[in-house]
Symmetry: C2
Subunit: 133 residues, 2 copies
């Protein structure tokens, strides 16, 4: 409703910067660890709080990828993910946006509903793990 007055604190900007420089889709715990190297006194609660605020403001994305932790991504563009079931690595996938948009439109038309977003998650074995086996 009303715009929340939000300060850009040291903590929040460090968290954001760290996430922007990290392409591994880290969890809050991992981000906490990295943040501590810059701000030794920061607390885990603060990390969670700020990640949620950043997500709320649309600056980052929360990713639910099927393990029980939430992952975070500073890349807010529309893209899909591939998760390696062996090493756990998460890879960004550029699915042709048109294909997905097409699916969304069909769905909306057929069922008379409104689609806000579509998340596509692939699971399997990544190239590195395939080579190893």
């Amino acid at each position: 409703m009303s715009v929340v007055r939000r300060r850009m604190t040291k903590q929040r900007s460090v968290i954001y910067d760290i996430l922007c420089a990290d392409y591994t889709h880290p969890t809050a715990e991992v981000i906490y660890g990295k943040t501590q190297k810059v701000l030794p006194n920061i607390s885990l609660g603060t990390v969670y709080r700020n990640l949620n605020l950043l997500a709320e403001d649309g600056m980052i994305k929360k990713l639910d990828l099927g393990d029980d932790k939430v992952h975070f991504d500073a890349d807010i563009s529309s893209h899909s993910h591939f998760i390696c079931e062996q090493c756990g690595k998460i890879i960004d996938i550029d699915v042709d946006t048109n294909d997905l948009k097409q699916l969304e439109n069909d769905l909306a038309t057929k069922n008379k509903l409104i689609v806000h977003s579509a998340a596509l998650v692939f699971r399997g074995i990544c190239d590195e793990c395939v080579c190893k086996s």
Copy 2:
């Protein structure tokens, strides 16, 4: 590796039957509630244990849909889901399997990896909630 010798106990079969008759993609907690009506002494731990065993045996599917609870589905066919952000309802979606298979194949070929599965989750407002507003 070796096939685990698994008994079909009263508890497990009741849980399975309940899930087969439920098309709402219930959580463990909800299934627990329904199971208690048949087996009043069953415990939540047993429900979790059996749901995980059934999933392990491929008789049911675990669904990670973005809220923090795991949902279960006795429909193990390949299909997608739509979640209403207003009422929380989960609807099965029959996306054209060919489209998704096509995406999987492209992905596998381009990146030299193996795709085991693809999960597609749409979010938005369902037809009923659209009408209400």
